[in-house]
Symmetry: C2
Subunit: 131 residues, 2 copies
């Protein structure tokens, strides 16, 4: 559906712009993130933390499929963590990894996120070769 595709591209633009308060236009006040009930504030705080850990964080849409109330996206990241990310300490390396993520919409906003990151790729690239 064109509408949800446009909605999602605006959401990603909002994330990439760093205007995280703007996420309230896209994300419900309460949502389930990988099965955990969180608030919009929690969601924004997590995105803020990621931007602090990865100053050059940029969401690149690789594949996007949208349905009536479901959006699926494969995101690609090419970035250099400067702080702890996914429990790993930064080693100065530029890393690339993917995220396969599904969203469920309700009332025109994201009410559930089911995200899987390529943790093995992140681990391989972030674990310091000298350790």
């Amino acid at each position: 559906m064109q509408t949800n595709e446009a909605f999602y591209r605006r959401y990603i633009n909002c994330l990439n712009s760093g205007n995280l308060a703007g996420l309230s236009a896209f994300v419900a006040n309460e949502l389930a993130y990988n099965g955990r009930e969180i608030t919009l504030d929690d969601y924004i705080k997590s995105r803020l933390q990621e931007r602090k850990a990865i100053p050059d964080l940029f969401y690149h849409i690789e594949l996007l499929v949208t349905g009536e109330d479901t959006i699926a996206c494969r995101l690609h990241f090419d970035c250099t963590p400067a702080g702890e990310f996914m429990g790993f300490q930064p080693n100065g390396n530029r890393i690339t990894f993917s995220e396969n993520v599904f969203y469920q919409l309700s009332g025109g906003k994201i009410s559930a996120v089911f995200s899987l990151l390529d943790i093995d790729a992140i681990r391989k690239q972030m674990v310091n070769k000298t350790s």
Copy 2:
């Protein structure tokens, strides 16, 4: 698109039926699996290995979104590995985990697969508490 949804549901039925030779109706002779070039035979062999490792393997479609030449699915698994799976030894535990997977179609068959499994969930459930 209804057509690709029906195609995908038939593909999953084929996997669940155990008639792996039947996968040739759904998967191209050559495909890219997480960026690695493999053949249909390689693909069938991998699925056979998984069925040996997990005799009660069953693909449950949790979320499905289809586009013109892309399919996205969140699959849920609830099974008891009897052999090595994803590098982990079986511990007799019943485990549950998700897979977020994208497929690209070409000529009416799957020509690329981008799969991410919830490795952390598998690790937590398969690593033997006594080891």
